[in-house]
Amino acid sequence: MISDITSVFNRKTVDVPVMAVTGGKGGTGKTTVAVNLAAALGMKGYRVLLVDADVDSPTAAIVLGVRPQLIQQVEAFVPTIVEAECGECGKCAEACRAHALIQIPGRKPMFFDDLCSGCEACRLACPLRAIERGSKVIGFVHRAVRDNVSYIGGELKPNETRSAQVVAATKDAAFSYAGRDSCDVMIVDTPPGTHCNVVHSLRAADLALAVTEPTPLGTYDLSLILKLASILGIPCKVVVNRADMPGHDNDAVADVARSSKSEVIADIPVDRALFESYSAGEPLVTAHPDSLAARSIMKLTELLIQQLMR
């Protein structure tokens, strides 16, 4: 029953291998790893679709060094109340669990846009059909291409809160492009954390890579994301970034990985070249292919080709 649910949850609309790069904690190097894996696979001749699902702070395009074009606005439902039809019965306000509609006896309902989740319960509840489908823009989807790497990135419109809906729209757009352009692999750069936008980002992944750092913070947050991946039925492997940083405790990371039936599959060393390529907007594997960090990423790429692309 449980596996049944996760297999439905992870169903893909297009048959393409999907790898999500996640990590729990922020700033561990998710975007760096995702962009460099995409570039490395591109160098090997694979057609890669890189998806930036960190819609709150989308930075993969900056790190990849592309200027994306807007391809789609993400719109969400908001109720449009036809006042002439409204019978002031209050059913819509009663149905709205987000308290975005308030009905005072003898008045038309009042709508608070910031609280609306876009669920349409109000429209469905109205016996007089006085609520029509309105919409508002909550985010954007962008696209760019660099060599063999296609990029699709979502962006939450600032001051909006519905990140997960923007992630879902971004992934839908990504799958339709993956089908159209017959991509060989999709790499999804997820947001930090473990809540709804991460759940939507991980959805349909064949494999998740949890990028962490060997600090007590990285280790603890890794334990959370590994737990989430296992609940969602997604296999997850661990990549330790800044593996030789001051005060590193790699054994603690390995222990956490083991206790979640996962394993550490790559160590990326501290490398000034990584910072420079990150700032310059050029993937490390193309900018400094001989650097230590680039070599460990290339090794990881080989491993993933074996595991994922057979």
């Binding site: 049944d4 649910i5 439905v8 949850f9 729990g24 904690k25 922020g26 700033g27 960190d54 709150d56 702070s57 989308p58 930075t59 900056i62 439902f77 149905a95 669990r97 308290h99 308030i102 005072i104 608070f112 910031d114 609280l115 989740s117 876009g118 669920c119 349409e120 319960a121 469905l124 939450l156 600032p158 001051n159 809160t161 519905r162 990140s163 997960a164 947001p191 930090p192 954390g193 473990t194 809540h195 759940v199 600090t215 007590p216 913070l217 603890y220 947050d221 959370l224 737990k227 609940i231 969602l232 940083m245 001051p246 005060g247 590193h248 405790d249 910072f275 990150y278 700032s279 907007g281």
Partner: protein, 348 residues
């Protein structure tokens, strides 16, 4: 609840659409409603009175720039200077503040901030109307059976319950996180939240954690509440900065962090929360640090007064679970943090 609704309505009616003209007020209303909502849910009984203490939120947009490290050291420094502090970790997805402070948190209170649909199979006649009403595809139609719920996708909006002709669906509260409390070795309390895995209502838990934190702050007669916020700019972040008097935005000298900084400042400007910017690890790229500072001054009229150097003592202090200002009080990062703490003290 009746009392809460009355206030909410009178608030809503005071003046014509006052909320749309004043976004900050609108947010206070939203915050208020969520308090009413959480008290309805029996998790937190919070009276609506603005605490007469200062609340400072530490946020960033981008993750991993040093929010929690800055917050921890700031809390220790303020506390040592005689300011009574309450620390709140509102990054409920990855609660790290207590780890840096070396404090064990006991998670005592469950938060029922999520709601999910529950189908009564005896009443269900398998018509499938609910499946098509669900906008988040959380209901799975199964041939010859009642629909199944995909719990990770259900947001508890209740659209399915509205359309079900046999009233077979009820929306039930579920436990979605916990609130914990600890007493640090530095003489101030910390309130921390933790989201249950697979749950999605971070924003509501943040609101509950902050409400609890304010009570702790009042009980301990605190002068200032320091909120360690989550990365991003979405719902948990907005819940974290709601009601803050002042925000510290931590960034680093990279194009990616600058982009996220701009997005964060857009949100803070929208909610009319005054902000200061702190450039962490500024010496990684001095030229870019200047660029960020000029940009922030030109676009947002914020003068970046604070720069923290990269310093090996910081990761070392992390590994020892001691805030850097205690671990190495004389290192460069600690010196910069002391300047920052004096500034924050001036601001409050």
């Amino acid at each position: 609840m009746a009392y809460g609704t009355t206030i909410a309505l009178s608030l809503a009616l005071s003046g014509d659409n006052v909320f749309f003209k004043h976004p900050r007020k609108a947010y206070e209303y939203i915050f208020f409603i969520s308090l009413v909502k959480s008290s309805e849910r029996g998790t937190e009984s919070v009276a609506w009175n603005r605490v007469p203490l200062k609340e400072v939120a530490v946020v960033s947009g981008k993750g991993g720039v040093g929010k929690s490290s800055v917050t921890a050291s700031l809390a220790v420094l303020l506390s040592k200077a005689g300011v009574r502090v309450t620390a709140i970790d509102s990054d409920v997805d990855a609660p790290n503040l207590s780890i840096i402070l070396g404090t064990d948190i006991s998670y005592l209170t469950e938060v029922q901030a999520s709601e999910k649909a529950s189908i009564d199979r005896a009443k269900c006649d398998r018509c499938g109307i609910c499946v098509s009403a669900c906008k988040v595809d959380a209901l799975l139609g199964v041939e010859g059976e009642s629909p199944r719920l995909i719990p990770f996708l259900c947001e508890g909006c209740g659209a399915c319950a509205v359309v079900c002709p046999r009233s077979a669906i009820t929306i039930k509260r579920v436990t979605s996180g916990r609130i914990g409390y600890g007493q640090t070795a530095y003489g101030f309390p910390i309130v921390s939240g933790q989201l249950d895995m697979g749950e999605s209502s971070s924003g509501h838990i943040v609101t509950a954690v902050k409400a609890r934190g304010r009570i702790v702050a009042q009980d301990s007669a605190s002068d200032v509440v320091l909120v360690d916020g989550p990365p991003g700019i979405g719902c948990p972040v907005i819940a974290s900065v709601a009601g803050a008097d002042y925000a510290l935005v931590v960034t680093e000298p990279t194009p990616a962090a600058r982009n996220s900084l701009d997005r964060m400042l857009t949100v803070l400007a929208h909610f009319k929360i005054p902000a200061s910017v702190v450039v962490n690890r500024f010496d990684l790229d001095l030229e870019y640090t200047r660029k960020v500072e000029d940009h922030v001054q030109a676009k947002w009229s914020i003068w970046v007064a604070h720069e923290i150097p990269s310093d090996e003592s910081v990761p070392l202090s992390l590994s020892k679970r001691i805030p850097v200002v205690e671990f190495q009080p004389d290192c460069d990062a600690s010196k910069a943090l002391r300047v920052l703490s004096d500034h924050v003290m001036g601001a409050i």
